[in-house]
Symmetry: C2
Subunit: 331 residues, 2 copies
Amino acid sequence: MLDERKTAILSAVVQEYIATAQPVGSSHIAETPSINVSSATVRNEMAHLEHEGYLVQPHTSAGRVPTDKGYRYFVDHLTTPGRLDAATTRQVGEFFSAAHGRLEEMLHQTSNLLATLTNNAGVVVGPRAEAVPVRRVQIVGLSATAATVVVVFTNGTVENVPLELVEGDDELKLSAAGAHLSAGLDGRVLGAVSDVEPTGDAAVDRLCTTALEALRATASPDQVFTGGAAAVAKAFDAVEVVRSVLATLEQQFVVVTLVSDIVNRGMSVAIGVEHGVEPLSACSVVVAPVVIDGEHLGSVGVLGPTRMNYPQALATVEVVSEQLGNRIEEG
Amino acid sequence: MLDERKTAILSAVVQEYIATAQPVGSSHIAETPSINVSSATVRNEMAHLEHEGYLVQPHTSAGRVPTDKGYRYFVDHLTTPGRLDAATTRQVGEFFSAAHGRLEEMLHQTSNLLATLTNNAGVVVGPRAEAVPVRRVQIVGLSATAATVVVVFTNGTVENVPLELVEGDDELKLSAAGAHLSAGLDGRVLGAVSDVEPTGDAAVDRLCTTALEALRATASPDQVFTGGAAAVAKAFDAVEVVRSVLATLEQQFVVVTLVSDIVNRGMSVAIGVEHGVEPLSACSVVVAPVVIDGEHLGSVGVLGPTRMNYPQALATVEVVSEQLGNRIEEG
DNA sequence: TCTGGCACTCCAGCCTATCGACTGCCAGCG
DNA sequence: CGCTGGCAGTCGATAGGCTGGAGTGCCAGA
C-alpha cells in the first residue's frame, strides 16, 4: 500500500503518460496543482515508486513510465467507476435502438461501435446460439436432394444448416419432421437434447436424426467479432507492434480464449502481461460480460495499448454490455 | 508501344521490384538470364523507360522503381492469365465445400480466405440477397408482441427480420400470413413484389403487409466484408501508410464505391492513383465480379501495395469469384 | 549498335560533438 | 526530521561531417 503522496504522484504520472505517451519527469509532476512539493521531493518519491516496481525509466536521464504494476494500482485504487458522459451514453442507446436484423451483424457492428467510442480495437465474443432455447424448427425443401433446416430461437435469432435428402423424402415428410422437431425442442436448449422420440415413420425419424446432428455440428465455435484495426495502427508507433497485434487479433481462437479467461477469472481489466498472451504484452484488455436472463452468454471488450484511457474504457464497456444484453433479451 | 528489349527489361524490373521491394539497378537486370546485353545497354534502355514514364528513380544514383504506368504495362501486356497452382485451387475448393450456414458469415470468411491466399487485404462486396428468389416465408411468434419473419431463399440462405405484433395476432393468424406470403412470393424475387393480394382477413393482411415492408426495409445496403488487416500492416514499412489504408478500409462506403467503380468500368485491376481514392494511392486493387445465374451480383477483390503479385492476385480472385458464384447458386 | 570504362552523384551508415532533459545526491533550512 | 535548492553526472536525441558503395550518364572504341 502506498502513502497518500506516493499515490498522488503515481496517479499524476499515469495520467500524464496516458495523455502524452512521453516519459514524464519530476518537474512536470511538481507543477501539477494537486502536488505541493518541490521536484526534488517528487524525485525521491519516484525513486521509491521505481524501486517498488510501479515505475521504470526507459534509460537514465529520462522521465519515468508506469509499469504494468503501476497501471494495475491505478485502475484498482485510483479510478472511480466513472459514468460515461451523456452524449456517448445516448449514442450507445441510439445505436441499439436502431440495430435490427441479424444477431451476427449486430455483434459485428457492436465491435465497431466499441472501437470508435474508445479509439481502440473492439471485441465482441458472441453469445452462443445454443444457450438460447429453441422456438421452432422447420425443414424447407430446395430440390429433390437438398433442404435447409431453419431453427428459430426464442430471442428471434435464426440458424440454418443445409441437409441432404434421400429418395422418398417428400414435402410431407419434411414438414412432419419439422413439426416433430419443433414439438420436441420447443423451449429447450439445443445442447440439452440428444435425440427426439421416434414417430414410427422411418423416413421422418431419419430426417429428425440427421437434422439434429447437422444442427449440433454447426454448433458455432464461439464466434468472435473484432473491429478497429485502424485504431490499433494509430495506437502504436512501432510498426512491428502493430503487425503482431493485428496478426494476433485475427486468430479468433486466441481472442476468444483471452477474453473468456479474463471474464472467467472475474476480472474486468487485464494489463500487459497479465493476460499471458505474449504478442499482446504491450496491450491491455478491458472486458465486461454480457448477461442475458441472468446467464453470462458472451462478452464485450476493448483492446488497446497499456496506456489507454481506463476509466473511459471501463465505462464504455459497461454500458455497451448492458445495453447489448437488454437488446438481445428483447430480441 | 515498347520494343521487345525494352519490354523484357521493364518486365524484369517489375518482377525484381515486386520480389525485393528495393530499387533495382542496371547490373541486376543485366544478370537476368533472359537479358543478353551489358549493363550499359540496360542503362540506356532504362533511361528511355524513365523518360517515357514507366520507371522512376527515387533519387540519382539509386536503382529504378516502376511507376503506376509501368505496372499497368506489365499487367496489360506481360502477364499471362496464369493458372492458380493446384494446391491453392484445391484449398479454395475445400473452403467452399466446407462452407455452410449464413451467407454473411461465408462472405466474411471469403474475405479472410482472399487475404490469406494473397497476403493482401481481401474484400467481398456482398451479393444482395434480394436478387435470389424466395422459397418460403414463415412468421414465428416469440411473445404476445414480437415475432420473427423468416425467409428461406431457393439457394438455402435465410433472412430474418423482427416484427411487432398487435392485439389479436395469434398463432393461427401468423401461420396463415406465413402461408399466404409463401404462396405469393414462392419463386419470385423480393424486390419484384410490391404487395400480395388480400385474403379478406384484415389481421392477416396487415401482417403480410408489415412483414413485407420489414423485409424490404432490411434490404441490406450493399454489404461489404474486409479481412486481412495484418497483411496490410505487413505490406508497408511506413506506419502512416498503414494507418491511412486501414482507416480507409473501414469506411465501407468508400470500399463499395471503389470496387463497384472498377467493376463497372469493366476493369479488373486498378493501379495506384487509377482508382482515384487518394489515401489508397499506394495501393492496387484487383477485382472480379461474382456472377450468379448470369447476373452480376457482387464482387470480390484484393487490395495491396502497387508492388503486389498481380498474376497471383488475378488468378486467385478469378477462382474465388467463380467458386463463390457457384456456391451461392447451389445454396 | 553495343560495350567497357570512367567520372560523378548521392544516400546510408558511422562517428563525433553538442544540447537538453532528466536524475541522484548533498548540504542547508525550517 | 523532512523538504528544498542546487549541482554534478548521465544518456538519448539531434545535427554535422566523413566515407564507402551502389548506381548513373556519357563517351570512345570495337
